[in-house]
Symmetry: C3
């Protein structure tokens, strides 16, 4: 199985698991698990394929991805309550998913357009959109608003992949470099609480504030 | 008019009505009614067409669907306040919309790919996505998080349609079976409060919770 | 540079600025600014291109739009805290963005289909969708739910453009008319608090309320 396909299945499975866990938090029924696992697992890749015009999207042309989501949802429906100290495992799995998907998204965007800028954005979107959808649907505060580094790791992974590709490295090397770079950044944020400096606050608002 | 087109117009009109009612709850102006009625009415089908690559989407190639949404929005702008005991009617109309759209979505997905798995997912997405968008835009808690059976009914309708199609029944029969199956499940949930068992709750969270 | 391209860049830049300002409110880091500026800047146009089947979408075929978003985000990361009385400037820039995008969206929809109804809807979607996404992602109440006229201005701009197009005016005239019409309506709403009458409230809810 080629490297990009492995990353794709890994990303789908791991994000599906985070969706199922979110369903567990909300004590949903099995269909709620299936729904959130599927939307989270395939959401980022769907967005990527749609903006690139690569339709029908990946899970329509290859429904195996859906079966991965269903399997993950069913397994977690019966086992999610067991995660306690093992919850930490899931956080790290999420970091693996983010890393895999940032490279997958960048690779598809770069192959379709040859533009490094587009590759960075499709990498970022693919890696984060599933999680954003999951949080919106589950009514939880978005991961985007947390101080901890998250989107940055996706950008770093996509950027490392693009740089290595421009340098002419083979796909296995560029993909591995991208995944490792994203994982190191996200892993460091998890382990050491890395953040970036924030913008200064606005002093006040006008009464005719429209946003 | 062929059966699938009837289901499509029924789904659009009924979901548009639920969007207009949501606008009524929020006491929006007529444009707010138009916006929520349109997004709810065409949201699910738009998502379905986009992931299948069936673009331009259905309401771009046939703007009559938009006129249906506009008509429903205008009628409800002047009459929504009259619904009191008749509100119950709307709940049941929503069940009809869900039933019609689960079959429409499954039929389009099945025709495009021949995959039962894809048909189940496009059926589920088409039937539920409009309502999810409506709740998000109106700032109401998502129907997905309610204990009552909802998404399940869409899956049952799509599943009955696919099974009957595999069995070789003609389109009128498969569509009718699917709609009835979905409506029985959703209707039972409404009338008897049917729910599915939920997953067990998580005992606690780690401090490094990332989702 | 043709008129529609000018409107497109103006719309992207101004909406990106509102996304960056939203990031400033939430005190996000630079990547948060980039993310919200990009999603807000390109969100409406992405939705427009996707439903019209004009994929790959505009920023994939021309990444300059992304560089506009990045530039705006970086500039505002360092300067947003200075806006105080200048915040009023931003509100009016947002009105310009809405006006530009309502015409851009209507023009693309009209060129693709020749349908006035579709042009109105793509104008409305393009002008409002970026802001809706921004508010959802930032966890702020949607601009759609505010009493003040907003979506209406987009519809008026798209409508003026379509009417002038049907009347056979050249593109520069139809575009200018549309932008001015939208801006007058939105500007009047900002300056004089214009609202439309709202629908009457529902007297109560049934216990079996499903939405």
């Amino acid at each position: 199985m080629p490297i990009l396909e492995i990353l794709d299945y890994a990303g789908v499975a791991v994000f599906a698991a985070t969706g199922a866990l979110s369903a567990s938090r909300k004590q949903l029924d099995i269909i709620g698990y299936l729904f959130l696992a599927s939307v989270t697992g395939i959401g980022g890749g769907t967005m990527r394929d749609v903006v690139l015009g690569a339709t029908p999207v990946f899970w329509v042309t290859n429904p195996t991805y859906l079966l991965v989501c269903v399997t993950v949802a069913v397994v977690l429906f019966f086992t999610a309550h067991l995660f306690d100290s093992r919850y930490r495992v899931l956080v790290w799995l999420d970091a693996i998913g983010l890393s895999a998907y940032s490279v997958m998204g960048a690779a598809k965007g770069y192959a379709a357009t040859g533009s490094a800028t587009v590759a960075l954005v499709t990498g970022m979107l693919t890696a984060t959109f599933g999680g954003v959808l999951r949080d919106m649907l589950a009514g939880e505060p978005s991961v985007l608003l947390r101080p901890e580094i998250y989107v940055t790791a996706a950008l770093v992974g996509a950027g490392a992949f693009v740089l290595a590709s421009v340098a002419g490295l083979p796909l296995v090397a560029t993909s591995t470099l991208g995944v490792i770079a994203a994982f190191v950044v996200r892993g460091g944020a998890l382990k050491f609480g890395w953040t970036l400096p924030t913008g200064k606050a606005l002093p006040g608002r006008d009464p005719d504030d429209v946003m």
